[in-house]
């Protein structure tokens, strides 16, 4: 990735893999919103980047011209890899999503809260007493992976394997198709085994549920179920891990917010929403399938859209003091979980995990800060969050 030519102009040659973009994209987006609200690049075989909330919203709502079949902007156009419903368009999208929704309502997610709290406490137990730790590696990255494994009914101990696939599919695989296909194929094989095991001896977990569920009396094919399982695992891990990491990164540098939140648990709901707005981790993609126009831009079939909910969330036309984190912000119509039919199915799960993770952390570590001797590093590409977050834990 270090061999990439640096972006020469964000408006006409943007590159979201450029280290300047990964490290601090916000000033770039502010500049684009004023100068060129829909930026373009010849990289990635042709892609656009809308930075205003209204344009992001319009594209998310327009499923006729903008397809979800390629949910990630990549260097090339590898074969389509359906992972329904995230890769589905109407009319297939609706039934594929509806069978998953009942497992992700706030009530159903609340059932996983005790396990989530136990995981957080176990991780904190390993850190407590030390003077420093890595908030991303030792804490944030371990929580969602274990919770989703618990929900799916697969081994929590396979967490390293799951994270490796995610890195291959969402980071390295963006520019290296071989690595992408390898990660993808390994995941397919893993879930084929899981499906076969449950056909032999049924189990009461999410995989078991998907094997039994019927739409109009028809079960889903194993290929469809495999795609859904890969989606749930990929979407459920580095997204929330990034969100938790960004929250800790913010709180490490803002003692006022940290102390307010530690003192008043009633603020947690609003604070989590504000962190989601300001540090939304997930950028999606759409592929133009029918020529159309928006704000003077003509989009042609085959071009990609980098659909940045994080950029929409920083638009001052919609959010007062958009670049300031206001942990008790009252009006917060943020789009961190997307807009329209592809609203993240795991939004209630993510909110629960972030809230539990921060509550448990602040209880044990009300005081902590960035380690000035070490560097924070950020993920590159579709999901943004700290991958190294060296912290000093002041007793």
């Amino acid at each position: 990735m270090s061999k990439r030519p640096p972006a020469t102009d964000w408006a006409t040659d943007f590159d979201h893999l450029d280290p300047r973009w990964s490290e601090n994209p916000y000033p770039i987006w502010d500049e684009l919103r004023q100068k060129c609200p829909i930026a373009h690049t010849e990289r990635f075989m042709g892609a656009y980047f809308p930075s205003r909330y209204e344009d992001v919203r319009a594209i998310a709502y327009d499923t006729e011209h903008f397809s979800s079949r390629r949910p990630v902007v990549r260097e090339s156009r590898p074969p389509l890899m359906p992972a329904p419903p995230i890769t589905s368009d109407p009319p297939e999208h609706r039934p594929a999503k509806q069978i998953l929704l009942p497992a992700f309502t706030p009530d159903m997610i609340a059932r996983h809260e005790p396990r989530t709290r136990d995981i957080c406490r176990e991780l904190i137990g390993r850190i407590a007493g030390k003077s420093r730790c890595d908030g991303a590696v030792d804490y944030a990255q371990e929580i969602p992976v274990r919770v989703i494994a618990h929900m799916l009914g697969v081994r929590e101990d396979d967490a390293d394997q799951f994270r490796k696939w995610i890195k291959e599919i969402l980071e390295i695989g963006v520019t290296d198709v071989e690595v992408l296909m390898r990660g993808q194929n390994e995941m397919v094989a893993y879930f084929d085994d899981q499906i076969a095991a449950r056909r032999q001896s049924p189990r009461d977990d999410l995989i078991g549920y998907l094997l039994n569920v019927r739409v109009d009396d028809c079960p889903f094919t194993d290929r469809h179920i495999n795609g859904m399982l890969r989606l749930l695992m990929i979407a459920g891990i580095d997204t929330t891990w990034s969100a938790i990491g960004s929250c800790l990164w913010h709180l490490a540098q803002h003692a006022d917010d940290r102390r307010r939140l530690a003192a008043d648990g009633g603020l947690m709901g609003a604070a989590v929403e504000e962190f989601l707005r300001a540090y939304a981790p997930v950028t999606m993609a759409r592929e133009v399938v029918k020529e159309t126009q928006l704000n003077g831009c003509t989009f042609k079939p085959g071009q990609m859209i980098l659909l940045s909910f994080p950029a929409a969330n920083r638009d001052p036309a919609v959010f007062a003091d958009a670049d300031r984190v206001v942990i008790d912000r009252a009006h917060n119509r943020h789009a961190a979980f997307g807009l329209g039919i592809h609203r993240c199915i795991g939004s209630n799960l993510a909110r629960m995990e972030i809230s539990v993770a921060l509550t448990e952390w602040l209880q044990c570590f009300p005081e902590f800060r960035l380690d000035p001797q070490a560097s924070v590093t950020w993920s590159v590409g579709t999901v943004r969050g700290p991958r190294a977050l060296p912290l000093l834990l002041d007793a």
């Binding site: 309502t105 917060n332 119509r333 329209g340 209630n348």
Partner: protein, 71 residues
């Protein structure tokens, strides 16, 4: 004629995508169905004292699916 106003809240079922913000912020006024989509409780009529909560839910709905009126 009574001068007392009645608050009416309504979730547009077509617009709602199940962000569940209304239920989180104003559970007195909104509930979720089995799929997690929002809807007004009962016929949506509520005491005017709940107006601030209704407006808060409205201002936090990402899909602009909530209507608040008075009668």
């Amino acid at each position: 004629m009574s001068a007392t106003k009645v608050l009416i809240v309504k979730v547009d079922r077509e617009r709602c995508q199940g962000h569940a913000r209304c239920f989180a912020l104003a559970p007195e006024l909104f509930e979720l169905d089995a799929l997690g989509n929002g809807r007004e409780r009962g016929d949506g009529r509520a005491a005017p004292s709940l107006e601030a909560k209704a407006r808060l839910a409205q201002a936090n709905c990402p899909e602009l699916a909530i209507e608040v009126t008075e009668e």
